[in-house]
Symmetry: C2
């Protein structure tokens, strides 16, 4: 997905948020903001938002000297989500359709996103996602694909959200071998190997790494990952960043996300705030 | 009030919104965005947000060739609000404290703001504002000032909102002579003379004009207005733009607003979304 002009002020805001995470020094904040503005002045919009975001966050890292501005928030939300795990399992246990409920919870967990300039209210999001219909609901073909697949690649999004993924992984592990992909290096509050292990994914799936960018930009991933991406029978793609970067890639991809930004909501044809389970089969 | 770094991405977003109001031509949108970015790169933050906003919207006007991008929205919201007028009067009639209810409604009307990058939901805002306590409530001294004043200057904010002001003006007109100040030229969706007359203010107050900027930047207003500002016994200041531009001016000023942006909310020490009736007496 290409970037839109709307992405420019949003990425600028994100860079300021990230700088404010690292330091209270307003001189540093201003330096980040101005360098990012200069960069964005000439950025080609043909690039996907995660590609531009990678450049923007690199500037934040360079100026602040901190390569993981969201470290504390990631630890905090891993803890919060782990504390909710028994409750999430209870919701699945008490439901009529365990798998569908786990899918809903995995999508609800996508609210834990500090790149989206939004308020994070987990409990309200869980309640809303459980009670409302999805704006796009390809659940029937999700179930069919699950039954037909021997290999699943699960593209993670954020720390904390990983616990919600775990609840879904526990429901689908019986169907196929699962590879769970996290970021190679810290970027925004995206999940890394450390987060995946902390949240207990290592006993459910093989954990691999993508790259140092938000989303999954295949050109920046190593060949082994690209081979896994190309050969998996089914890909579960969490969140906006993954959608932005692979929405035009071939594969049997199921996008699970909360539409939090107007550009992605418009691309999907849904309202902001909607839950989406969308199959996008592109011929290889 | 000085601008903050947070104002930069917000103003950039506003410029894009305004350009999109005028045309679907993305080349124009991009030209506006880039010229505004170049301008904002060197803008002194010592200026108030309305001063910078004036420069930003001037660029939008110059590039699009349209000096009133929000014209249609202003007409629309004048119509919507006029349609609500009988209902608003009914709420006042049925209330225990007519004046306090009219104050609440005048503040609720401040939701009609297209410079604030927010969702405009009038009915929900009325309901919330009527049922919740103000975050800052200087109503007792508002009543006392009203009883002691012979001249009141009422600084309007937005088109549509004017109808909500009218409901309050009808309750306070018995206390003092009222001057109602609107913008001299169109800027964002701020009320102009045309809007004030359409909403029936001319039978309740003398209508005067300020300048061609958001808020009330006294240096850009004519001497007659400044004299009125300096000599009025009481000033009722609606909305964020007026707060941003005159929060440090001397005078017996009552700010009525919904805190819609994080910078103003922080300056006032309240949460975003809160209703505020704040007296700020600065010695002349």
């Amino acid at each position: 997905m290409k970037s839109k002009l709307e992405c420019i002020p949003c990425l600028l805001k994100q860079s300021l948020n990230a700088a404010e995470m690292v330091t209270d020094d307003q001189v540093v904040h201003e330096k980040v903001l101005k360098l990012v503005m200069k960069e964005l002045l000439d950025v080609p919009l043909g690039r996907s938002p995660p590609t531009i975001a990678h450049t923007v966050y690199s500037i934040v890292h360079d100026v602040t000297g901190c390569d993981d501005p969201y470290k504390d928030l990631k630890v905090k939300y891993n803890g919060i989500a782990m504390g909710m795990y028994p409750c999430l399992k209870g919701i699945v246990d008490d439901s009529e359709d365990r798998l569908f409920t786990a899918v809903k919870l995995a999508i609800a967990g996508n609210i834990i996103d500090f790149g989206a300039n939004i308020q994070v209210n987990i409990k309200k999001t869980i309640k809303d996602t459980l009670s409302r219909d999805f704006a796009i609901n390809d659940y029937p073909s999700f179930v069919k694909s699950l039954e037909e697949s021997e290999s699943i690649l699960y593209l993670a999004d954020n720390a904390g959200e990983v616990v919600f993924d775990r609840v879904l992984l526990e429901e689908i592990q019986e169907y196929a071998d699962i590879v769970y992909a996290v970021k190679k290096e810290p970027i925004i509050n995206d999940a890394t190997m450390e987060d995946a292990i902390f949240c207990g994914i290592d006993s459910l799936a093989e954990i691999v790494t993508t790259a140092d960018t938000p989303g999954t930009i295949l050109e920046r991933c190593d060949q082994e990952f690209v081979d896994t991406f190309r050969s998996s029978d089914m890909i579960i793609s969490k969140g906006q960043g993954n959608y932005e970067s692979i929405s035009e890639e071939p594969g049997n991809i199921f996008f699970m996300l909360l539409a939090k930004c107007p550009v992605i909501a418009a691309d999907l044809g849904v309202e902001i705030g909607c839950a989406v389970l969308k199959r996008a089969v592109q011929v290889r």
